[in-house]
Symmetry: C3
Subunit: 160 residues, 3 copies
């Protein structure tokens, strides 16, 4: 039997529009029978974090930073025209109206299709997060070597 | 005869600098004899839109949003230092002075070289656009599956 | 002997977080025995520039622009939450505390591992820079054709 084609996506961005694009590509690839891995790092980790200010972080700076950079896939801003939430609100309205799945829905579809969801250990450390700060949809915490292992078998490897 | 190598570029960004980089890579690849597809989505659609505020959008929110997000390849802002248009103006001046093709010129070259220009149907819907809102240089309206079909034959696949 | 797998990264961004991600992937790939090329262009050139305002630029606009866009790998801002340097300062503190190499350290490691560092000739011209404006770690000044030559042999090609 032929092996499945692989697609890998590094989700570096935590912006609503970019994360939406990442999930559209990932979920479409899975529908087409490809094996998909999404590797979330830096601001992308916000997609996988519980929506709380992280007061349990070991470090005061991390606590402070978590006020700026709150997690939660329902809270992602638009990369442009956020403007105190107005642009983001309008875009969410339009996406709903035009049946683009929300990030929450897209993640459910991704899991149902067997897409592998990895959170990057290096940036987890920097942000003072631990396994408990993440939603259960995360399959694995792993580093760049693990990502590169998958990507070098991938036919399509994107950095978003 | 050997098949042509494929290069695909997702143009997600509508920023002048990123779109310029996308066209430089695309046009250089075509000169080198590669088969190139550019897939424009989200803000990247602005490159392919007629430069008008979209008052024909079916939805009031879309009309409002089109004031924020006007199309037109001559109107793309710089991703940094836009500062009420000043940085963008300076960069355009320098690009012209140093013979970097404008987006309009780059698109003409791209078409002349047979680069395939695709506009993403999903985001077209969200923004309330239709075929008539696009310049005739667009070869095709298509979705993520069509992009992935091309990318899985590509040797170089970039997301910009 | 099997050929080494190739990894190429276009570093378009000059943001601290994105450049850090680029170096983590590049250095990890080199540790894994892959042959890595980093192609710096547009804002990414700031990583490789001496940290000076470029008053030797041939053109007045370029001199002015260099006040906005100062080079120097110690001066890269964060892509989000820069906020007059506060967020960037906090992130640098955390990166240091959690043993993420600074860009300066990452570049030393990259060179020691034989990663090829290329600066893009086209954007060098636009910004009024010349070879003397760059740190000696740059291996080569080259254009998009040179990048595409490497990328078409690459298994993993990213645009960051």
């Amino acid at each position: 039997m032929a092996e499945k084609e692989k697609v890998t996506i590094v989700v570096f961005s935590g912006d609503l529009d970019k994360v939406t694009a990442a999930f559209i590509i990932a979920n479409t690839a899975a529908v087409m029978g490809k094996e998909v891995t999404m590797f979330f790092t830096f601001w992308g980790l916000n997609v996988l974090r519980k929506s709380i200010i992280n007061l349990r972080a070991p470090n005061l700076i991390q606590k402070a930073f978590s006020f700026l950079n709150r997690g939660g896939k329902e809270r992602l801003p638009l990369s442009k025209f956020h403007i105190f939430g107005i642009g983001t609100f309008l875009m969410k309205f339009l996406m709903k109206r035009y049946k683009i799945p929300s990030i929450t829905e897209a993640l459910i579809t991704a899991k149902a299709q067997g897409i592998k969801i990895i959170a990057c250990t290096t940036t987890i450390g920097v942000m003072g997060l631990s396994k408990d700060d993440f939603i259960p949809e995360v399959d694995e915490l792993a580093g760049a070597a693990s990502y590169l292992g998958e990507a070098s078998e991938g036919k399509v490897n994107l950095f978003i």
